[in-house]
């Protein structure tokens, strides 16, 4: 492979604003008195709660068990008592079931697993089962169960680790690669063993030169190649990453395994390493708390169930009243209306936006400039599809391949008419899915 940074077609270049927190080492958040763990943290089926109110739990103990293949178990973030199982504000601004644990302050481990120190000689099936049991999901933001990707039904020849972190503001993966370089590489090696591969490739955007050189220093020990990626949003999207690194295109409606690839986030790789080597389930993650209103932007190691209000408090609170709170980055993050939402396995960032940066615009008619078409990394026609949706012609939107949209928001970002294109596509996808379900019922 050449040393030239790799890129994909299309994309946009938003100001990355990573300087706010990129140089801040990861701090471990202190033990809280109470954690409210949201039960459904993964894409797929929600797990089934196995504890009841009043139960004593140990740190790492099973709280909810997986209910099917595309589902993951949930574990206690600390030792203590289950004080409530009720609804709490969820990340999509709708109340969701959650388990409240009042900590006993002992923080005593009761992990159900034994460490597998000799992973090089362990059976790949045992290692995979550990990933299943540890409840590991895609920690870049999607929350897709990791073990599903590790069970390809087609031959796979490439394991890709996603260290692109293309979302502006977020620096959690950057700090992770810098501070836990060997854990990332170890995770990569374990994942490669599970898939029966010898090597892995890790893609990192060129705006993290320190992480790239540190990874390069250790990579050969683990049989991993480090590849520099061009700074271009959405470089960290699965399909774009695969194209940039291998030149292969995942078909519409297809999966990475259709082109022989498996992509895992770097934070998920570290979670895999922790689960195998230490025997720890996935109960914590590194999250960036950032934004101009934050007094002390930085990166913290939070346990799942930590309220957002506590996270912001740890970052010193706010200097000015923020206008918007997002979970995730500014491009794909979800706006919140409550500070009681808690950190989940896929909360990569907590972003506060000041009032000057929240644009209050009105949607104007499309001027057919074609900038959205140039920006679209999936080569679809955002302008045309949005008109189909505005006229409620969902059949037309379907013909125009709205299903290929990865909802990266590049089109909305460049649109000079401020058209809410991304939201239109979400609507179209939801309507098409609803129509299909209706038809299946008939």
């Amino acid at each position: 492979m050449s040393d030239k940074p790799r890129k994909f077609k299309g994309g946009v270049h938003p100001e990355d604003s990573k300087a706010l927190s990129a140089s801040k080492p990861v701090q471990t958040a202190p033990l809280l008195g109470k954690y409210t763990v949201i039960v459904h943290q993964n894409i797929g089926a929600p797990p089934e709660i196995v504890v009841k109110k009043g139960d004593l739990v140990k740190k790492g103990q099973l709280l909810a068990k997986a209910t099917g293949f595309v589902s993951v178990p949930l574990h206690a973030p600390t030792s203590g008592t289950v004080t409530a199982i009720e609804k709490c504000p969820g990340p999509a601004c709708v109340s969701v079931p959650a388990i409240e644990i009042t900590a006993d302050g002992q923080d005593e481990w009761g992990s159900p697993f034994e460490p597998i120190a000799d992973w090089q000689n362990a059976d790949p099936a045992v290692l995979k089962q550990r990933v299943v049991d540890a409840g590991i999901v895609g920690m870049g933001g999607a929350g897709f169960p990791s073990h599903v990707k590790l069970s390809p039904t087609k031959p796979v020849d490439t394991l890709i680790l996603n260290g692109a972190e293309c979302e502006p503001y977020l620096t959690a993966d950057h700090r992770l690669m810098l501070e836990q370089t060997e854990d990332v590489l170890l995770g990569a090696a374990i994942l490669a063993r599970i898939l029966g591969l010898e090597t892995a490739v890790i893609g990192v955007e060129a705006n993290k030169p320190d992480a790239i050189s540190k990874l390069n220093a250790f990579a050969s020990n683990y049989n991993v190649t480090v590849q520099t990626l061009a700074v271009n949003y959405p470089q960290g999207a699965e399909k774009q990453l695969i194209y940039a690194l291998t030149g292969r295109e995942v078909p519409i409606g297809g999966l990475p395994m259709d082109v022989g690839c498996v992509v895992q986030n770097v934070a998920s790789a570290v979670a895999v390493a922790d689960a195998v080597i230490k025997g720890h389930p996935s109960i914590e993650r590194i999250t960036t708390v950032t934004g101009e209103p934050v007094v002390n932007p930085g990166n913290w190691r939070f346990r799942i169930g930590t309220p957002i209000s506590k996270a912001i408090e740890l970052a010193g609170g706010v200097k000015v009243q923020p206008a918007k709170l997002l979970l995730g980055g500014p491009m794909m993050g979800f706006a919140q209306n409550s500070l009681d939402v808690t950190v989940m396995k896929n909360t990569s960032g907590i972003l506060l936006i000041p009032v000057e940066q929240v644009s209050q615009y009105t949607s104007e008619p499309c001027i057919r400039c074609g900038r959205c078409v140039e920006a679209c990394p999936m080569d679809i026609l955002p302008a045309t599809i949005s008109q189909a949706v505005e006229n409620e012609r969902f059949d037309w939107a379907e013909q125009l391949n709205v299903a290929a949209c990865i909802e990266c928001g590049s089109c909305s970002y460049v649109c000079p008419s401020h058209r809410p294109l991304n939201q239109h596509f979400k609507r179209a996808k939801a309507e098409i899915l609803a129509a299909k379900r209706k038809q299946q019922k008939k």
Binding site: V94, N337, Q360, T362, S363, Q423, K426, R427, A430
Partner: protein, 276 residues
């Protein structure tokens, strides 16, 4: 001169010939139509609302003439109109209870918590990005998807809340499917008392986000003429529409949050600015 006469005669002759051919073809290949269908279509309102369950007034007229349905199924026509159709066809008009739509939410901007939102102004799009802009997960989203769907302008958006005007609503049901929160139900037009709340949450949770939520205090259940007039489902009370309460219940029950309302007074704005 001769030239002009020849041209006129030739054109007239050609015209007559073609008229004959067209006339003969029309007679030979005539499509048998029931003239009654056209007459009945003209007697129908012509709004094409679809409230009858057929694809517009002409399709409905065809169904009536073919005996598949009865004139009364048209929700727009009054009894005078349906009787006229029945008389023309020599059938009975049939009987049907008139229904009207009720938006089961009283959460206008004045009484609910609301976050700023500037995306697509459509309820079904709004719920996809943040579950809607209001604090309540179950209430009216307030972006007028139902009002736009109403062919009779019977739904008014008042302070971010969809309000049905009972005197304008004909119960076609076009609005029902447009609500992403499934708030709209068709109820017997004779019933004026409704519970304007749809949240199954606990009272304490509801009152945090909405001042006019039903807190399931059961005052209305006790005040009703008999126990079965209101149904209690968890933390939410609703009318039992098969045995509905009468209008004076609102007066008698003294609902503390004013979630129990008269549809007619609600439309007239009598409950606006309710405070606790």
């Amino acid at each position: 001169m001769m030239l002009i006469i020849t041209a006129v005669l030739f054109t007239a002759g050609l015209g007559a010939l073609l008229a004959l051919i067209i006339g003969a073809t029309a007679r030979a290949f005539a499509v048998e139509t029931d003239s009654r269908i056209e007459t009945v279509t003209e007697m129908l309102p012509g709004v094409n609302c679809g409230g009858c369950g057929y694809a517009g007034c002409a399709d409905f007229a065809k169904a009536i003439v073919e005996g598949r349905t009865l004139p009364v199924q048209c929700p727009v026509s009054t009894s005078v109109h349906t009787a006229r159709i029945a008389e023309y066809l020599g059938i009975t008009a049939g009987e049907k209870e008139k229904v009207i739509a009720v938006v089961r939410c009283g959460g206008s901007c004045a009484v609910t918590v609301r976050s700023p939102y500037n995306g697509v102004s459509d309820c079904r799009s709004a719920v996809l990005v943040a579950g809607g802009a209001k604090g309540c997960d179950f209430g009216c989203v307030g972006f007028a998807s139902c009002a736009r769907a109403c062919p009779f302008d019977a739904i008014e958006m008042r302070d971010g809340l969809a309000v049905v005007h009972p005197e304008l609503c004909i119960g076609c049901g076009k609005c029902v499917d447009t609500c992403p929160k499934n708030l709209i139900v068709l109820t017997p037009a004779a019933v004026d008392v409704h519970v304007y709340c749809n949240s199954p949450e606990k009272g304490a949770v509801k009152t945090k986000v909405c001042k006019t939520a039903c807190i399931a205090c059961r005052k209305c259940v006790k005040a009703a003429d008999n126990e079965t007039q209101m149904t209690v489902n968890g933390f939410l009370v609703a009318d039992n529409y098969s045995n509905p309460p009468i209008s004076d219940l609102v007066e008698k029950a003294k609902c503390p949050t004013k979630a129990l309302r008269l549809a007619s007074k609600h439309a007239a704005g009598a409950y606006e600015g309710v405070s606790k």
